[in-house]
Symmetry: C2
Subunit: 336 residues, 2 copies
DNA sequence: CTGTTAGCGCGTTCAT
DNA sequence: ATGAACGCGCTAACAG
């Protein structure tokens, strides 16, 4: 019985012939070690947890399935179960984390949708519990994360618009409690600072990451005396809403108003006109986060598990050169 | 020690005062029963499995997150872990099921995206393993399921189009190996039979449930000598692709061509024009499936766990009366 | 009503 | 290189 365990778990103090014999016998008898007994003996849960966050407009977020799929196969290969729970933001959320951690139900956690001040992360750090974030957070204590370079992405997108001559670029950001929203604002600001352009704070907005919200905000912006000539959106869904508002006013997208989205959802390339946006590899990101957690559990210090992936600008047809702004003088000339 | 277990697990052979004392002490000491030890003693996994299927165009499926969320809270309240894995269709998929079932990693399973002939279901029935399907399948052996009434939904949608005077209604269905695709075809056929309308099989198509596929199929249909006056789509994404193709030809949606989608994705109401489609409550469905599995584990026979929910037609602006078909005679009169 | 004892099925010391 | 005995932390059967 002992030998069986040692053979199956690949110990080196068992002869190869014996091992082969054991494996054959196990195969023939259809024997599978009971994972629960194994877990009790080892004192490990052999499971990883992921808590699905619920925030506004989350239905529109096709990412979690993709993220899950990316992670699932990695964990499966490592013989770890992936346990998924759900919790709304707030005290209930932390209770779920406590149950998982203090109930020793999981050996590690993936924290998704990080917030700039994130109590979940502070809690896990306090408990010295292994985890990897998908996204960054404000905490200065070392921890593992994989994040997209939101700052760089918005820097690039903003620079592109500035390069096209735009000077009034609205930012339709995500809710500012989300860490990536802050990063994006910084990228946006940096591009302006580098170009020596002053930002009009009245055209900085927060959206709920869905179509309707983008539509409403765009309408508000277009009502301004001096509306923005370009709008930089936090998600493609937001951008689609913006496009709808712009079209409804008879303005031409990419000519009268330039629009850039974020995420590169499959629909983006089929929008009318096709949407310029930033692409990121969700599936591969999920797999990588899982691998990082494996490394963390194997002892790699968190400082060595910090990655930032660049998004890729996908240039399509919703952005174009800024219309030269007419001076009052020119305006008179043009209309007479 | 025994008393502790009995008190905490709510047995009735322990005095209330003792129970209170035990609970207080447990609270004070921060004691949490070790779930792994409990599982070993009970011989249960206290976990439920869900295998994410991967098929064509799945990225566009925003449902799984919603479905997961619906299930997760129910299982959490029942102290069951929800274990999520992923597998592509095929032999690998069945291996994942085997690992879960034969490795005693879960007490029950949710089977999503059922196929008309579904080996997963046959396997689970053979093993006499508890499970609930989200969707139906061709098996005649009794098993638990929650399904949307796809047949009724497409019956209703088709009847609506027929009522509007349409006689050439294209069906842009999902891949026919999926059970719901077959049900939808039947609903479509029944509506035609009831109205005494012959179906032209050349306008029956299969799409990949995404925008691009809908676009391509619509273009093919519109090239016909006698193109359909209405198109019934398997998903809203498909319908959006159809709309794009129709618009590109300068045809007016809801006038020249009527379109009905399926799913009522959030974007549907903001499409141009707003999309008529069928709505279903994914989140509540997920919760219900979870409850049904709980009942199944508690001993309810599968025959008593079969539910079919009606989808709801959401009438918006992509469908309208069929243009009266001109006879050659009328055509001559109209053009002279 | 409550305490004692055995056993769930592994992994792992310690002998051999 | 292998086998015997113990323990992981809990629940359940059995006494008291």
């Amino acid at each position: 019985m002992t030998t069986v365990s040692r053979a199956l778990n690949g110990y080196d103090d068992v002869s190869e012939t014996t091992r082969a014999r054991v494996i054959d016998a196990a195969q023939a008898a259809g024997y599978r070690p009971n994972p629960v007994a194994r877990r009790l003996a080892l004192g490990r849960a052999e499971a990883i947890g992921l808590v699905l966050p619920r925030s506004v407009g989350d239905f529109v977020d096709p990412f979690f399935t993709e993220l899950l799929r990316g992670m699932a196969s990695v964990f499966e290969d490592a013989n770890l179960d992936l346990i998924v729970t759900a919790a709304p933001e707030g005290p209930a959320e932390l209770r779920v984390y406590r149950r998982l951690v203090e109930g020793r139900r999981v050996d590690g956690l993936i924290v998704a949708r990080t917030r700039s001040h994130d109590e979940r992360i502070e809690y896990l750090l306090d408990q010295d519990f292994p985890f990897v974030c998908h996204g960054r957070t404000g905490s200065d204590r070392p921890h593992a994360y994989l994040d997209m370079d939101n700052e760089g992405g918005f820097l690039e997108a903003t620079q592109r618009l500035i390069g096209l001559g735009h000077r009034r670029i609205a930012l339709i950001n995500a809710p500012m409690n989300l860490a990536f929203a802050q990063a994006r604002l910084i990228g946006y600001e940096r591009a302006h600072a580098d170009a020596g352009i002053e930002i009009d704070r009245t055209i900085l907005c927060e959206s709920d990451l869905n179509e309707e919200s983008g539509h409403d905000i765009a309408n508000r912006l277009l009502d301004f005396d001096e509306p923005p000539t370009a709008m930089l959106c936090a998600s493609d869904f937001t951008a689609l809403g913006v496009m709808r508002a712009v079209k409804a006013r008879g303005l031409e997208i990419g000519v009268d108003v330039s629009i850039i989205g974020y995420d590169d959802i499959p629909l983006a390339q089929y929008a009318d006109p096709p949407l310029t946006t930033m692409h990121q590899q969700i599936h591969r990101g999920g797999a990588r986060v899982a691998e990082m957690l494996l490394a963390r559990l194997a002892g790699t210090p968190p400082e060595d598990l910090q990655e930032v992936w660049p998004p890729r600008l996908v240039s399509r047809a919703t952005d174009g050169p800024a219309k030269p702004i007419k001076t009052p003088q020119e305006f008179v000339e043009a209309t007479t």
